[in-house]
């Protein structure tokens, strides 16, 4: 709806064929991280710190090593020293020093659950028993988990060697503020002074977890010749390879990483926690070792999205034009430096609006929590929460429809964003117009119900990808890619290959290859895989077509220049050779037919979404029920609409959970109080209405099938959409998430 009407139509792209991995998954035959078994495999277990902040004075592992069945014990002392520098495994660099400490503490622990030792034994029970025999001598230190407490003078400093980056003057004293990043354009103060209305507010959010169902798990085997193999569930097995090699001082080519099926990642599986530990255990034991996290370990020791404190002043003119902004946010970075959510947070703030005068400052603050890690559109949902709530308030004060206000300010093709990047075929305005025209927006509300609108954007990415296409002897097609299938890439790659080759979808099979079987491919993150790896598949398929045209020319005794490729066949006048016929003769025309494309494409475009949330509040309990939710998004071109809609629905529900219920809750001792799904309340299907996903297709002209990344944008709008709906239902602007029943009830009572 509202998308350009002259779009090219395709034979397969845009249809909904059956997913190629569905039967394996629903029958339980697919092998996920914790399922993999290697011959002679040992069972590993990790001892984790009970303290949020402590110095390790010593670790005595002798009793554990003496226990029958124990084959290896490792501590931080077993990690090679000198793991320094960075590896560029993803869009941003990984600091090897901190990646290594994240896997295993050295002289200090920085959060409850920080690994301090690990054991490999003949059974899981023996390994767990051995952990009890390891004696760790801790000097418990004062801890801090709150952002503003961590910045208070005189409080505990986590790292003596961390000085704030990004200040005008080089600091001389260590600080928990590890990074300051700012972007300024124009004169924000002058613009705010001239504004007709200025909304001033403070917003707070708690850390939230990605909530992937499958735990982190791996099997590692360090061979006698110094080479290693790792089987694991990850969003990027090439990143696992690079990080593990860097941490352990191995050459990259000496490690082969086999990706298993992945049961959710959402950004949280773009790093390593277990793999280097399992490799060290395997080297000591001389046998493969499995490590897997329990749910409590995942909450306590893997990286959530950062909590935040955000102060905002947003100004507007009488006609609704946003004129100036001054925004400062502090993200809770957890125990170790190296989190880059502050960069993306600053660059995402106001990223879909024209605000000529703006000052945006972000801080990363270290606390005794697990080090934060990527979660769908990392760094963006927090600041968009503040901005979209502020726009809602300004629209109310100015008497302007909230969608009209956004339409007045939203970026359009040819505009530049806050970084100075010129935006091409974006569909922001089309999405907003479709939102306004959607029947949901005009539907009546019932008693105690409210409606909220919010937008969100995410920049997306391209990144390096490799793909191979080869022709089997019977004319069927094999596609090999280097990206784990998280959101349907097998189906999407098969569809793009089949579309390009002019053959049936069922004729194409896709394999996710290990790190030694396909060229480098950046991880499945940044909403990049269907865009970048898909482009590599298309280019490889086009190269295969060229080879097949040459082979057909040989078979027909003609010039290849006269051969056309049409509907899966080489055509020369009235003569036609199918793929199967060309494949059957390939041995006589030059040998196997295959091609590989290794690319690093630009041309990606950001995604944009607008969400409508209706909810009902029980005034007697403060309980909130989402009664209707519509998520509209510019998706470029949906290759397989089921998967695209699934991404939109999933992101929306995760954002609703962030808004309504989810939060890391720490007690006074710095212990996580809700390290399990019973107490950490993520939405389940029965909590939600059907999320209506509406795809707005404004194709990306720089992709052969118009793809834009879709996976991250949908988590950005829901936080403010929910909060704006609560505002609409109650008249209360509540800037603190989660909007849990007790918080809403207390505010309702106070308002009375």
């Amino acid at each position: 709806m509202n998308a350009p009407s002259d779009q090219k139509t395709f034979r397969l792209v845009g249809t909904r064929p059956i997913r190629p991995d569905g039967i394996e998954k629903v029958t339980g035959k697919a092998i996920y991280g914790p399922d993999f078994v290697a011959p002679g495999m040992l069972h590993g277990a990790v001892l984790r710190s009970p303290h949020p902040h402590a110095r390790i004075r010593g670790i005595d592992t002798r009793r554990a090593e003496a226990l029958a069945g124990v084959k290896a014990v490792v501590t931080g002392a077993d990690f090679p020293g000198g793991a320094e520098g960075t590896v560029a495994g993803g869009e941003t660099p990984t600091d090897l020093k901190y990646a290594s400490i994240k896997c295993m503490a050295r002289d200090k622990v920085f959060f409850e659950g920080h690994a301090v030792a690990a054991v490999a034994a003949t059974s899981a029970a023996v390994a767990e028993e051995a952990l009890k025999l390891i004696a760790v001598d801790y000097e418990v230190l004062p801890h801090v988990t709150d952002i503003e407490e961590a910045l208070r003078p005189g409080g505990p400093i986590l790292h003596d060697d961390v000085f704030t980056q990004g200040l005008a003057e080089t600091p001389t004293t260590p600080s928990n503020a590890s990074l300051r990043f700012a972007m300024t354009r124009g004169d924000a103060e002058q613009a705010l002074g001239a504004a007709v209305e200025v909304y001033t507010g403070r917003f707070t959010l708690q850390p939230v977890h990605q909530g992937y169902i499958e735990p982190h798990a791996c099997v590692a085997s360090w061979q006698a010749d110094g080479q290693g193999q790792i089987w694991c569930s990850t969003q990027g097995h090439f990143s696992v390879r690079a990080m593990t090699a860097g941490i352990l001082g191995m050459s990259i080519a000496s490690i082969r990483v086999m990706p298993l099926e992945i049961g959710g990642g959402f950004g949280g599986k773009t790093t390593v926690y277990l793999e280097p530990v399992a490799m060290l255990l395997s080297r000591k034991a001389g046998r493969p070792v499995r490590l897997a996290m329990q749910r409590g370990d995942i909450f306590r020791a893997s990286g959530p999205a950062p909590g935040a404190v955000i102060d905002i002043r947003l100004g507007a003119l009488a006609d609704g034009t946003l004129s100036g902004a001054d925004i400062e946010f502090k993200y809770n970075g957890g125990g170790l430096p190296g989190a880059y959510e502050v960069y993306s947070g600053v660059m995402s703030t106001l990223s879909c609006y024209r605000v000529p005068d703006a000052n945006v400052v972000g801080w990363n603050v270290l606390t005794n929590m697990p080090t934060v890690h990527a979660y769908r559109a990392p760094g963006a949902p927090q600041t968009y929460f503040a901005v979209e709530c502020a726009i809602d308030e300004l629209a109310r004060r100015l008497g302007i429809d909230p969608i009209d206000m956004r339409l007045r300010n939203v970026l359009r093709p040819g505009d530049t964003d806050g970084r100075g990047m010129t935006l091409g075929a974006i569909g922001y305005a089309e999405t907003l117009e479709a939102t306004k025209a959607h029947p949901h927006y005009a539907a009546p509300l019932g008693p105690n119900q409210g409606r909220g609108i919010a937008c969100g954007s995410w920049g997306n990415y391209g990144g390096p990808s490799t793909a191979a296409v080869s022709l089997a002897e019977d004319g069927s097609i094999l596609v090999t890619e280097g990206n784990p299938d998280i959101g349907g890439s097998r189906a999407a790659m098969a569809m793009m290959a089949a579309e390009t080759l002019g053959i049936a979808y069922e004729k194409v099979r896709v394999t996710v290859a290990d790190t030694s079987s396909i060229g480098y491919s950046m991880g499945t993150g940044g909403s990049r895989t269907t865009f970048a790896t898909g482009m590599a598949v298309v280019q490889a398929a086009e190269a295969v077509i060229e080879i097949m045209k040459q082979r057909a020319a040989q078979m027909l005794g003609a010039d290849a220049a006269g051969i056309e490729w049409r509907d899966g066949a080489a055509v020369l006048g009235e003569q036609r050779l199918s793929i199967a016929e060309i494949a059957a003769k390939s041995g006589m025309t030059g040998g196997p037919i295959s091609a590989e494309a290794a690319i690093h494409p630009g041309g990606f475009l950001p995604g944009f979404g607008a969400h409508i949330c209706d909810l009902e509040i029980d005034p007697e309990t403060g309980h909130t029920t989402v009664v209707r939710y519509t998520a509209l998004q510019d998706v470029g071109r949906a290759i397989h609409p089921d998967y695209v809609e699934g991404q939109i629905q999933g992101g929306a529900v995760q954002g609703i959970g962030w808004a309504l219920n989810e939060a890391y809750v720490y007690d006074r001792e710095g212990h996580l109080d809700n390290a399990g799904f019973l107490d950490y309340r993520m939405p389940v299907a029965s909590d939600m209405p059907m999320i209506e996903a509406v795809m707005i297709e404004v194709p990306n002209p720089d992709h052969p099938y118009g793809v834009k990344g879709v996976g991250e944008t949908p988590i950005v709008p829901p936080l403010a959409a929910v909060a704006n709906a609560v505002r609409d239902a109650t008249g209360l602007r509540i800037g603190d998430l989660p909007l849990s029943p007790d918080r809403i009830y207390a505010r309702l009572q106070a308002a009375e």
């Binding site: 660099p93 990004g166 990043f181 991250e712």
Partner: protein, 80 residues
């Protein structure tokens, strides 16, 4: 050719300057010239920097900058 140096590189390498004027045939050559001004920049750029040429993201550093008016140097951003 105008070089727009975004944070954190402006303060970290160029004394707070966010605008430079340099000519270069390619991003490789440009990074070399920036490294000559601020030793160590090239190593940092390889893992941390992204470039946009006349407003368009440019992942290939060997591409010609002939006719380009502006290069923006900005930090890479991680996705999930």
């Amino acid at each position: 050719m105008r070089i727009v140096v975004m944070p954190p590189f402006d303060r970290e390498f160029f004394g707070g300057s966010d605008r430079l004027e340099l000519e270069a045939d390619s991003l490789f050559a440009l990074v070399g010239k920036l490294d000559a001004i601020a030793p160590g920049f090239a190593a940092a750029a390889e893992s941390r920097a992204a470039f946009a040429v006349d407003g368009v993201f440019a992942p290939v550093w060997s591409a010609s900058l002939a006719g380009a008016g502006e290069v923006i140097l900005l930090p890479r951003v991680a996705g999930g």
